[in-house]
């Protein structure tokens, strides 16, 4: 069953004279329980695509449907509610509020949606166990490491049991060890909780955790790879070779 459907998505920035077409008619479908990676060189439109799909940005043309609901019909308030209840977000720069403790950051979405405290607590307990951040719940973001911050951010994204989790370069600011730990956690959550995850990354290692990887080039889908039964190592090699075909400037880090 398709959780996320994108049809003929176009995105144009700028006014008529200086218009720049960033997305040139993208079609895609994401099924429930998938862990989809989006890769591509800088300027290929990865982040723009993600922003359009997750309702932070509007497509110039085309339709985005999540769980069969088209995003274009929503007003600001309804859209915010939809994001809060159906979607989860993990960003490169963590996006934690410095003035809140880890626990408060994770429970942030519930500060407006009403949920019984006991339910929230039990979800919190399960997630922090999975992500291994029980010990830092009462610390402030500036007291914990980057990896812990990103796992906190992941916990916040997952606490509402969203239909779909969007991750924008979640490992971008992490060292390789923390990055691996986070990705392993995401993979685990993807499998154990059948959470659907969509992740933008330029890191082939990160992409190799996915079940499917889309390659973007100049605003269009260039190709896609399925992991299938391959080991992570094999999938990683396959991603690397696709990247080199895509262009020598594949690494923009």
């Amino acid at each position: 069953m398709a959780v996320l459907v994108g049809r003929k998505i176009r995105k144009v920035y700028g006014k008529k004279s200086t218009a720049q077409e960033v997305l040139k008619g993208i079609d895609l479908e994401v099924n429930k329980g998938e862990f989809v990676g989006i890769m591509g060189p800088s300027g290929s439109g990865k982040t723009t695509l993600l922003n359009v799909l997750c309702s932070i940005d509007y497509p110039t043309e085309g339709v985005v449907e999540i769980n069969g609901q088209s995003l274009s019909g929503f007003k600001e308030k309804a859209l915010a509610k939809f994001r809060r209840e159906q979607l989860g977000f993990i960003f490169q720069d963590y996006n934690l509020l410095d003035t809140l403790t880890v626990k408060e950051n994770i429970l942030l979405p519930f500060s407006i949606s009403k949920l019984p405290k006991a339910v929230a607590e039990s979800r919190l307990k399960e997630l922090v166990g999975l992500l291994d951040i029980e010990d830092i719940l009462n610390k402030y973001p500036n007291e914990i490491s980057g990896g812990q911050k990103q796992r906190t951010s992941a916990a916040r994204a997952l606490i509402t049991s969203p239909t779909l989790v969007f991750a924008d370069e979640p490992t971008g600011a992490l060292d390789s060890k923390s990055a691996n730990a986070l990705l392993t956690n995401l993979e685990k959550i993807n499998q154990q909780k059948t959470a659907t995850i969509m992740m933008v990354t330029h890191d082939a290692v990160a992409a190799s955790f996915c079940s499917r990887v889309l390659f973007l080039k100049d605003g269009a889908i260039y190709t896609e790879l399925y992991r299938g039964d391959k080991t992570r190592q094999q999938f990683f090699q396959q991603i690397l070779s696709t990247q080199s075909v895509l262009g020598g400037d594949g690494y923009d880090a």
């Binding site: 308030k77 408060e104 500060s111």
Partner: protein
């Protein structure tokens, strides 16, 4: 690109951030200049010639005004420079020397300042007439005010503002020279406290802050309470203690108590925060370190301004009541003098009511009526001569009072004297008429004023049964200083002008002739004359204090607004995060409203509380009406603060809208 083009470019770009500063600057220059012009306006000078203190008061006020404006401009300038630190860093990064950057920013400031000063002076010149009219209205002087240009005022203002400009530029140079390139880029973050845990020290200091304020308030209620306070002899020391504990308490309150209270509330939620906690409580808590000083200053200035304005308004407001105490009737004739006045009133066909009083005196010791703790006070050595009238005379004014034999009551005992030396009814005292001692029982203490203060000399009045009054008269062998009073009230308010004219034409008959024993002379004034004198003195006071209060209000309000602008910019990132994860604009604004209520409300409420207790402790020194003047001034302040809060919310709205 030339330097001047760069300057104008960046000014155009910054205009949005600057415009409130710009308007505030114009407004303060307007205020200053019109105030200075006003002093030199010939009509005003003429009107104020009578009052010698006027020019001294004006001078003092204008210095305070300059001082406020200097503080304000320096503060605002610092705030804006901090926000532009990135821009300054960028200029240096592309290879400009610090000297060049200083010149660039200085040039920009000079242009801004000169434009603001010129605009302010033009507006100030025209508005000075408005203010002059307001002043003369307050003084109840009918006079046409001409717009007058004063070279003296211009010279004085130009000198002051030039000095201010030099100070601003020195501040710029100092700010730019002092900082390194690296710290320039992170200047906006430096002001914030790194998020820290709350220690025991915090809690203790927070508690001490609250206690100090409470102590100051409690002490202020007993400042003039002779019965409870042993510190009456050390009045100044006592005042200093109150002032010190309140000021220190206010600072500790903002620095520690606010975080303490908020942290307690928040800790109780165990991680399950509401949107207002996220957007108001926690950011405020973590900003208290950098905001404590300015919030303290603003709170104290607000308290000071409201307090002073209220006291001067009380004086003005009480001008009539005070005049009624000096001259309880519209016109008073003593010792049967000036009966020609009544004849002339009759001739002119003016209707009036007449009350006549026979006056005797007794010697009594007020000591017998004060509470036990004051019995030993040296204030009450010996007897004092006190006027007495009969009950039937008293009933001309107040009908419902009754007395039994031997009973008496004391009246004309109110305001300052009643506050400082409270006396109690329900006791028997002995009064002396001549050589005879007469015991009387005091049934009550009243506040009615009936006799001219030339008769009473400020002492209270004893009212006794008619029979007893006659007995006193018989026993008094010495002739009375003043033995009778005729009180005249006009029936129609419209006749006042005519009556005043007659009364003033009889000036030579108004010198009160006392009996031969007394050599001093008194001139009786009509109620209207006394009231006008009061109005002239207090009208000027209220005008000057209102002017200063306005300046205080403007500066404190703007500073709060500027701070909120800066905070909004710093929190843009948080709003971005929240909107991404699904907070709607309306949700975020809910939190922002709460934050504004705190930011504007708390300094306002605490400032008002401070002024309330300050005014409460000694308002009766200034007049006889507390509630109305206090409420009027407070409501005025609240309304104007609300305007600033609304402006600030508008700014936040823009930031939230643009954050995603």
């Amino acid at each position: 690109m030339t330097l001047s083009r760069l300057v104008f470019r960046s000014m155009r770009k910054n205009v949005k951030q600057y415009y409130l500063y710009f308007f505030a600057l114009i407004f303060s220059v307007t205020l200053c200049f019109s105030f200075t012009t006003l002093q030199y306006n010939p009509s005003v000078v003429e009107a104020l010639e009578l009052s010698r203190t006027a020019s001294a008061g004006f001078k003092a006020a204008s210095y305070i005004l300059y001082f406020i404006i200097t503080l304000f401009v320096l503060y605002a300038n610092q705030l804006f420079m901090k926000r532009r630190s990135k821009e300054i860093g960028l200029y240096q990064l592309i290879g400009m020397t610090k000297g060049l950057v200083v010149r660039l920013i200085a040039l920009e400031n000079i242009v801004l300042f000169v434009v603001a000063v010129c605009a302010g002076m033009v507006i100030g010149y025209f508005s000075s007439r408005l203010f002059a009219m307001a002043l003369l209205q307050l003084l109840e002087i009918d006079m046409v005010i001409n717009l007058a240009f004063s070279q003296e005022a211009l010279k004085q203002s130009i000198i002051i503002f030039s000095i201010l400009l030099v100070v601003i530029i020195l501040q710029l140079v100092w700010m730019i020279r002092r900082v390194s390139l690296l710290s320039l880029f992170s200047a906006t973050k430096q002001a914030d406290e790194r998020v820290k845990r709350f220690s025991i020290f915090h809690s203790v200091m927070g508690l001490i802050g609250l206690l100090l304020i409470a102590f100051g308030y409690y002490q202020s209620t007993m400042l003039f309470d002779v019965e409870k306070s042993a510190m009456f002899e050390n009045l100044y020391l006592h005042m200093l203690v109150i002032l010190g504990s309140t000021v220190l308490g206010t600072f500790l309150f903002f620095r520690y108590s606010v975080s303490l209270i908020m942290n307690t509330v928040r800790a109780n939620k165990k991680g399950h925060l509401k949107v207002t906690d996220v957007l108001a409580v926690t950011p405020i808590m973590h900003r208290m370190k950098s905001n404590a000083k300015s919030l303290t200053l603003i709170t104290l200035l607000t308290g000071l301004a409201v307090g002073i304005m209220t006291l001067s308004y009380i004086s003005y407001y009480s001008a009539e009541t005070k005049a009624r105490q000096v001259s309880p009737y519209d016109y008073i004739l003593l010792n049967n003098q000036g009966n020609e006045f009544i004849q002339q009133l009759d001739q002119e066909g003016v209707e009036y009511n007449i009350d006549t009083y026979e006056i005797a005196t007794v010697n009594l010791n007020i000591k017998d009526l004060v509470s036990d703790t004051l019995q030993d006070s040296p204030l009450f050595e010996g007897d004092s001569t006190t006027p007495v009238i009969s009950l039937s005379n008293f009933q001309q004014r107040v009908h419902e009072v009754q007395l039994q034999n031997e009973e008496a009551f004391i009246t004309s005992y109110a305001d300052i004297i009643a506050e400082v030396l409270p006396i109690h009814a329900g006791r028997e005292i002995v009064v002396k008429a001549g050589e005879t001692e007469i015991p009387i029982y005091i049934t009550e203490i009243r506040e009615d004023y009936l006799l001219s203060n030339i008769v009473s000399y400020g002492s209270p009045l004893v009212v006794v049964q008619d029979a007893l009054f006659e007995e006193i008269q018989e026993n008094n062998t010495e002739p009375e200083r003043i033995s009778s009073q005729i009180g005249i009230n006009l029936v129609h308010e419209g006749d006042k002008e005519k009556a005043e004219e007659i009364y003033s034409s009889l000036a030579d008959q108004r010198t009160v002739e006392l009996n031969d024993k007394y050599t001093d002379t008194f001139v009786q004034s009509s109620y209207e004359e006394v009231r006008k004198q009061n109005v002239a003195v207090f009208g000027l006071t209220i005008f000057v204090t209102a002017f200063l209060g306005l300046a205080f209000l403007l500066t404190t309000g703007s500073i709060l607004y500027f701070k909120q602008m800066a905070e909004a910019e710093e929190e843009r990132e948080s709003y971005n995060i929240l909107r991404k994860i699904g907070f709607s604009k309306a949700d975020i604004l809910k939190g922002i409203y709460a934050k504004q209520v705190f930011n504007f409300g708390v300094p306002l409420v605490i400032g008002l509380l401070h002024s309330y207790f300050a005014v409460k402790s000694g308002w009766w020194l200034f007049g006889s009406e507390l509630v109305a003047p206090l409420l009027i001034i407070m409501v005025l302040y609240i309304v104007l603060y609300t305007v600033f809060a609304v402006l600030s919310i508008q700014y936040y709205k823009r930031v939230v809208n643009n954050s995603l």
